[in-house]
């Protein structure tokens, strides 16, 4: 990373984190997810522990929803794992939601503050500027996501759900959180950057780029209805798709951040 990228990166963090709304979103959303996750899984766990075991019919119904992952587990453990993965899917939304907010404020802020022209008058390269913007938004989002997942699993262990937490640390989920999450974050930033170049209100930019969460939300719904479950193969496919998508979005963004484009075709710059 060269001097110019570092300089812009530092500026981004200093500037955007002084925005209360961005900071609030970055802190509050993961906190909410941790509370929800630990509450749901830990709560049901505690409720089922003293209760009589599930009926045969109930267990069969659950198995249909939860599928493969429940192999060899009793009814209560299966329910915990089923809920546990759903909540983990919720955490996968963080790398999409958080950087979009950051990038929307960052790019729209540059436009309304008219700071892009002096910035582009320097010898910075378009790719360097974009790289700095992407890192600035994606790195904190990924760190927060990992922190959130760690708190979630730690919270489960504390509530006596250590078994569930360990089961959630499957290779598929490790890959999802470790590899797919950063790829999602990069895609989210780039989408937000592209949208932000077209609108002049950060909230609009944020809402428009918020649609990137939709496919993931569909996965969540699909899994909760037992249509499929996230497994290693699925994560693998998602990783490949995201790599291709990220490259395509990066290509569009680099063209969009070209000086000529920014100064003559961007709305409001």
């Amino acid at each position: 990373m060269n001097r110019r990228v570092r300089a812009v990166l530092r500026k981004e963090w200093e500037e955007v984190f002084k925005n209360g709304l961005v900071l609030f979103t970055m802190v509050f959303t993961p906190l909410l997810f941790v509370v929800m996750g630990v509450g749901t899984v830990g709560g049901t766990g505690m409720a089922t522990r003293g209760a009589p075991p599930m009926s045969q019919a109930e267990a069969a119904e659950l198995r249909k929803l939860a599928g493969e992952q429940c192999a060899g587990l009793d009814g209560a453990a299966c329910l915990d794992l089923y809920l546990g993965t759903l909540m983990l899917l919720l955490f996968m939304m963080l790398p999409l939601i958080l950087p979009t907010v950051f990038a929307a404020y960052s790019v729209v802020g540059e436009k309304t503050g008219r700071t892009l022209e002096p910035l582009l008058a320097t010898p910075i390269r378009t790719t360097e500027l974009l790289l700095a913007k992407v890192l600035a938004a994606a790195v904190p989002a990924v760190v927060v996501t990992w922190g959130g997942v760690a708190c979630y699993l730690g919270g489960l262990a504390l509530l006596g759900e250590g078994g569930t937490a360990r089961a959630l640390l499957s290779p598929a989920w490790l890959a999802a959180v470790g590899v797919l999450a950063p790829l999602l974050a990069v895609g989210g930033v780039l989408a937000a950057v592209i949208v932000s170049s077209r609108v002049n209100d950060p909230r609009t930019a944020q809402q428009l780029s918020g649609v990137v969460v939709m496919p993931l939300a569909m996965v969540l719904v699909g899994q909760s209805m037992g249509l499929f479950i996230v497994d290693a193969a699925m994560v693998g496919v998602a990783v490949v798709v995201m790599v291709v998508l990220d490259l395509a979005l990066a290509w569009v963004s680099v063209a969009l951040f070209d000086r000529e484009n920014v100064l003559t075709r961007w709305k409001g710059a």
Partner: protein, 303 residues
């Protein structure tokens, strides 16, 4: 230091800059004057390698603005039309960022130097958003100078400033000029151009004229001299006309206004004739036309 050859820029149908041919010498300050929408900012953007010409070419500091854009950017400092500061960052951090981007060796030292020079050192840690317009403009000027560019583009540096702040900025530009920097100054303020610039270019989508302010005045109005008398009587006027010199006469109250190509050659004879005709001469004054009149005259004639 700046050479443009048929430099042209279109925005769709609109011809913003039309075949501009201009040369600015090293150390020269050129005033670039023109009404709103004349294409001044567009010209500056092309010369700073921010947008590309549609046709024609330009060299700045010896580098082609298209093929050697990066070198051009390193050699020029630009004060953009709006200061464009990061309002949440302190004055110092605003400058440090640009010092890094321009690859300045001693960023902290340069930042300190310019903040002090423009009287902002005491406020260095305050967010730029809390600054007054004049302070913002000064901070933007610091930003343009950190990398010690030999060529400066100033796009309306004193517009929107109160007279005192404007004077401060103007004096500072004068100082930059005396350091030998080449300055390209876009302005609506004709006094400013008159004071600071070696030559002025009048521009409205195309170059109308470029010359020294003094020469423009003479070309437009000829040179004039006013002779104030205690009392102007018909025989005074007649006495001057009787000389048969190449001079135009106009009477305004008790003042006789002479207009000639070379007033220095004619004035002594005129004054002598007046005195001999019994006129009491109180004052003989050369008239300087304001650049504003010249500007309006030339712009008015060029729709």
């Amino acid at each position: 230091m700046i050479e443009t050859r048929r430099l042209t820029r279109r925005f769709g149908e609109l011809l913003a800059v039309d075949r501009l041919d201009l040369d600015v010498a090293r150390g020269e300050c050129l005033g670039f004057l023109g009404p709103n929408g004349a294409g001044k900012t567009t010209t500056v953007r092309m010369l700073c390698a921010l947008i590309a010409p549609s046709e024609g070419s330009a060299r700045v500091a010896g580098h082609d603005v298209v093929r050697e854009a990066d070198q051009v950017r390193r050699k020029v400092g630009i004060l953009t039309e709006t200061p464009g500061l990061y309002d949440r960052l302190s004055a110092r951090r605003n400058l440090e960022l640009f010092g890094e981007l321009y690859g300045v060796d001693d960023v902290a030292g340069q930042v300190r130097r310019y903040l002090a020079l423009l009287g902002l050192w005491e406020r260095r840690d305050d967010p730029a958003g809390t600054f007054s317009k004049g302070m913002r403009q000064k901070l933007a000027i610091c930003r343009a100078l950190l990398h010690e560019p030999p060529i400066l583009f100033l796009d309306e540096p004193t517009s929107a400033l109160d007279p005192e702040a404007a004077r401060l900025v103007r004096d500072f530009v004068g100082e930059l000029k005396s350091q030998g920097r080449t300055i390209f100054l876009c302005t609506h303020n004709l006094e400013e151009a008159d004071q600071l610039c070696d030559r002025v270019a009048l521009f409205r989508n195309r170059l109308l004229v470029v010359d020294t302010a003094a020469s423009l005045r003479h070309q437009t109005y000829g040179r004039q001299v006013e002779v104030r008398l205690r009392e102007l009587r018909p025989e005074h006027d007649a006495a001057v006309r009787a000389l048969g010199l190449p001079v135009e006469l106009a009477a305004v109250g008790a003042t006789l206004r002479l207009r000639a190509d070379d007033p220095d050659a004619i004035t002594p004879a005129v004054v002598r004739a007046l005195v001999l005709a019994g006129a009491e001469v109180q004052a003989v004054t050369p008239i300087e036309h304001s650049l504003e009149r010249v500007y309006l005259e030339i712009m008015g004639g060029q729709p």
